[in-house]
Symmetry: C2
Subunit: 430 residues, 2 copies
C-alpha cells in the first residue's frame, strides 16, 4: 500500500451513516507506522484490492473498513508474546476502532465471524499480535436477528421465580452414571430446592445414557418433583451433537419432558444455535467449551464478551460462562464484562441470563451476588450440590439456605447454626 492509499481506509465517524457499519474495537501490536498498519488491517478485512488493474474505480467508500479512531498506547521492544515472525521491534501497541460495512456480508453469524476474526484480521502484514475486544451493532443489523426467545423474563415466568437468582445444579457424577440413578439425583436436587437440574456439558446422547431414556426419566422425575413441591422445575437436557441431529434431539427431549435445552455454542457452531432457536419450544442454554482457547490471553485472540454477545445474538436464553474465583482463571473485570454483555442494550434483542460458574457451593453465592450486583443471574454448582455430605437434596437445600441468609443480611456461619444442610456444606466445602 502506498502512502496516498492510506487515507481511503480512514474516515471521520460523523461523515459516515453509522447504520451501515459494525464498530469493531481491536488491540494490536504493530511494527512501523501505526496508521499504515491500521490501513492494511482495514484493507485485509474488507476490500483488499479496491480496483481492477487499469480501471478507474474505488471500492473503498462503499466496501472498505475504515479507521475512525486510532490510539497509540505505547511502544515496546518485544511483542507481548514470542511468535514466529521476522519482525523486529520497536512495536507500537495500539487500540483502534474500525467501522466495518456490514453489507459486505450481511446478518449471518459465520460470515460475521469470518470478517471480524478471519484471515484479514490475523494475517495483516506488520500486525502479529491482535485481539478483538468488542463489537457494536447498529439497529438495522440487529433487526435481522431473533435473539433469545424467552430471555430472563421468560425464564422467570416459566419458573415463577422473580425475587432471587436462579438455582441450577449440574447432576454428578457427570460421566458414567446411568439414567435411573441420574434421574434420582436430579429428583433429590429439585426436592432440595433447585430450580433447574441439568446435564453436564460433556454428557452426550450415548449408548450408556441415551437422550431418549435420560430425558424420559428426568422428565418424569421433574413432574413428580413439581407435584411434590408445588413449585415449577426445569430439567435442562444437553443436546450437543452433529448439527443435523439438533432439531430431532430437541423434539425427543421436549416430548419426553425436558423443558430447557443446553448446547455448547462454539463447538456446535453459533449458526447451528441460531437455527435451533428458530425451532425451539423451550429456553436454550449455552455452555462455553473451547472459548478459553482464544480468549484467555490479555492481548491475543477474542475478548470473551464478544462471544457472549454473539451467543446472545444467536438466541441463547442463558449463557453459562467462566465465573469468579481463582479456579476459573478469569479476571473479575472480564467476568463482569461478560455479565454486562448479556443484559446491555442490543436493539430489540432480549437479555440473556448470565450464569458465571466454577466450583460453586453455598458459600460462594453471596460473593457472586455481590459482584454481579443483581439477582438476575444463574448460580450453577455441581459438586456443591451433588457431592454434599447429605446428598443432592441437602446440597440444594444448602444453596437455598445461603440465599435466605443473604436476603436477610445474616452472616452465613450464624444462619448455619440452625440449618444442618448449610452447616454441613461449610464443613465440607469451605
Amino acid at each position: 500500500m502506498q502512502q496516498k492509499d492510506i487515507e481511503g481506509f480512514f474516515a471521520d465517524s460523523h461523515a459516515l451513516d453509522l447504520e451501515d457499519y459494525l464498530l469493531l474495537d481491536y488491540y494490536f501490536e504493530c511494527q512501523g507506522d501505526p496508521r499504515l498498519a491500521a490501513a492494511h488491517f482495514c484493507s485485509e478485512q474488507s476490500t483488499a484490492q479496491w480496483q481492477r488493474i487499469g480501471v478507474e474505480e474505488d471500492f473503498r467508500p462503499r466496501f472498505g473498513a475504515k479507521v475512525i479512531d486510532l490510539q497509540v498506547l505505547g511502544q515496546q521492544q518485544h511483542l507481548s508474546y514470542a511468535l514466529h515472525t521476522p519482525l523486529a521491534g520497536p512495536f507500537q501497541s495500539c487500540q483502534v476502532k474500525i467501522a466495518h460495512p456490514h453489507a459486505n456480508f450481511g446478518p449471518k453469524l459465520p460470515n460475521l465471524l469470518s470478517a471480524v476474526c478471519g484471515e484479514g484480521v490475523f494475517f495483516t502484514p506488520g500486525i502479529p499480535v491482535v485481539k478483538l475486544l468488542d463489537i457494536q451493532f447498529p439497529e438495522t443489523y440487529l433487526a435481522a436477528f431473533e435473539g433469545p426467545k424467552f430471555g430472563i423474563q421468560g425464564l422467570r415466568e416459566r419458573l415463577d421465580v422473580y425475587d432471587r437468582p436462579i438455582f441450577f445444579g449440574v447432576i454428578k457424577p457427570n460421566i458414567g452414571l446411568g439414567p435411573e440413578p441420574f434421574a434420582q439425583a436430579g429428583y433429590a436436587g429439585w426436592l432440595g430446592g433447585l430450580d433447574i437440574a441439568k446435564d453436564d456439558e460433556m454428557l452426550a446422547d450415548v449408548s450408556w445414557s441415551t437422550l431418549e431414556e435420560r430425558s424420559r426419566l428426568l422428565g418424569q422425575a421433574r413432574r413428580q418433583a413439581e407435584a411434590k413441591t408445588g413449585r415449577r422445575k426445569i430439567y435442562l437436557a444437553y443436546i450437543t451433537d452433529e448439527v443435523d441431529r439438533l432439531l430431532e434431539l430437541h423434539d425427543i427431549a421436549v416430548a419426553n419432558g425436558a423443558n430447557a435445552l443446553m448446547v455448547n455454542a462454539m463447538t456446535t457452531g453459533l449458526s447451528a444455535v441460531r437455527w435451533l432457536r428458530k425451532h425451539t419450544r423451550v429456553p436454550l442454554v449455552g455452555h462455553f467449551p473451547m472459548i478459553a482457547a482464544f480468549s484467555r490471553l490479555p492481548h491475543y485472540g477474542l475478548h470473551a464478551q464478544v462471544m457472549t454477545t454473539l451467543q446472545r445474538l444467536a438466541g441463547l436464553d442463558v449463557i453459562i460462562m467462566p465465573g469468579f474465583g481463582q479456579r476459573m482463571m478469569t479476571p473479575e473485570t472480564e467476568v463482569l464484562d461478560c455479565v454486562t454483555a448479556c443484559t446491555r442494550a442490543l436493539g430489540a434483542i432480549k437479555p440473556s441470563l448470565p450464569a458465571p460458574g466454577g466450583s460453586d457451593w453455598a458459600g460462594t453465592l453471596g460473593d457472586v451476588y455481590a459482584k454481579v450486583g443483581s439477582i438476575d443471574f444463574g448460580f450453577v454448582p455441581g459438586r456443591g450440590v451433588f457431592s454434599h455430605p447429605l446428598g443432592p437434596a441437602g446440597g440444594a437445600a444448602s444453596i437455598c439456605q445461603a440465599w435466605e441468609a443473604i436476603a436477610q443480611g445474616i452472616p452465613l456461619a450464624e444462619y448455619a447454626q440452625t440449618r444442618l444442610e448449610l452447616r454441613r456444606a461449610i464443613e465440607a466445602f469451605a
Copy 2:
C-alpha cells in the same frame, strides 16, 4: 483429589484396548506435582466425580481419561504467558499423552471438540497454560466418519490433471466487484491456465453479488472456458452462510454450474461441514478464518494440525491453510505438519489436498513445491494472478510458465527471458 486417587487416572497403554481410546497429546505448564496435575487434567475432561457419595463404585476404569505418558520438559519460574492466575512459580512444563475413552461421547465432532478442548482441558486447577498438540484416532472411531467424498484423486480426475499441483486463483477485487466483471475475470484466469477460479473467503451471498447470479455467470463462463481451452475447469463458489441455508446454497450453486464449493470450516462449524459433505455432489474446500485465533501461540490453544485433521474428518476435499513465507507468520514446521495431516494414514478416510497459501505468485511456486516435496498441493494466488500487469490471463499464464520452468529444471529468470507473462510477474511481484 487425594494421593490415592491419582493412580486411577494413570494406565499402562499395553493394558488398554486402544480401539476404545483417542490418544491426545498436550503440552502444559503446571504448578506443583505434575502427576497430580495430570490426574486432575484427566478427571476434569472425563469423569470429574467418579462415584456417588456413599456408593461403592468407580467409573474411572471405563470412563476415565488416563495418562499413558508424562514427560517433564523443564522447570520455569514464570508461565510462558502472563495470565490472570494467583499461581506462583516454579512451573513444570510437561508433555502428556492421554488415552480418552471415546464412548464417553461418540463419533460426533461438537462433542469431540468439547472433550478435547473444553472446560476440563482449559480449567484444570494448576494448569493455566495448555495446548492440544495432536489427536490420534482408532480405526473403530474413524469408521463412523465419511471423510472427503472425492479426495485428491477424485479432484484430479475431475480436472484430468495428474502431473502437477492444482492451480487455484482467488478472483480479485474480492469485495465490491459485481458478478459480470467478476465472471469476466474468472474467465480470463481459466483461459490463462487456472484449473480453479474461486470466490474469496469473504464473498457471501449478498445483494450486490447474489450467489444465484454469480454462480450462473461463473458457471457459464466456466463452460465457455472449457470449450475454448479443451480443458476441464472448476468454478469454486463460496457458500459460507447460516447453516440452515447451506444445502439450499449448495443446490443453487451446483445447478448453476459451480463444480466445487468452499466454506469457512471453523466459523460455519465443523459439524455443519460434515452435514454438507453428506449432501454434496461436488468437491468441498475449507478455508481457515478464526483458526489462527487459537493456534498461533506456541504454548497455548490448539495446534493447527488438529484443525486440519478435523477438517479432513469432516469431509473437506481441499484444505486451504496458512502457508510458507513471512507474511503468514506460521513456522515452516507447522505448515508441514498441516500438510502431513492432510495425507497421513487416517483409517479409510481419503486424503485431502493441502493448499498452503498466502501472497503467492509465480515466483513462490518453486519454493512451495520444494517444501511440500510433492505435486499434491493446491497453489492459491490471488493478486499474483488477478493483479498481474497483463490481467488475469497473463497472471494465470505466469503460474503455468513457472511450473514449466520448475518441471524442466530451468531457472525462473532464464525461462522468463522468452515468456512475457512470467517476466512481467517477476517485474511486478519479485
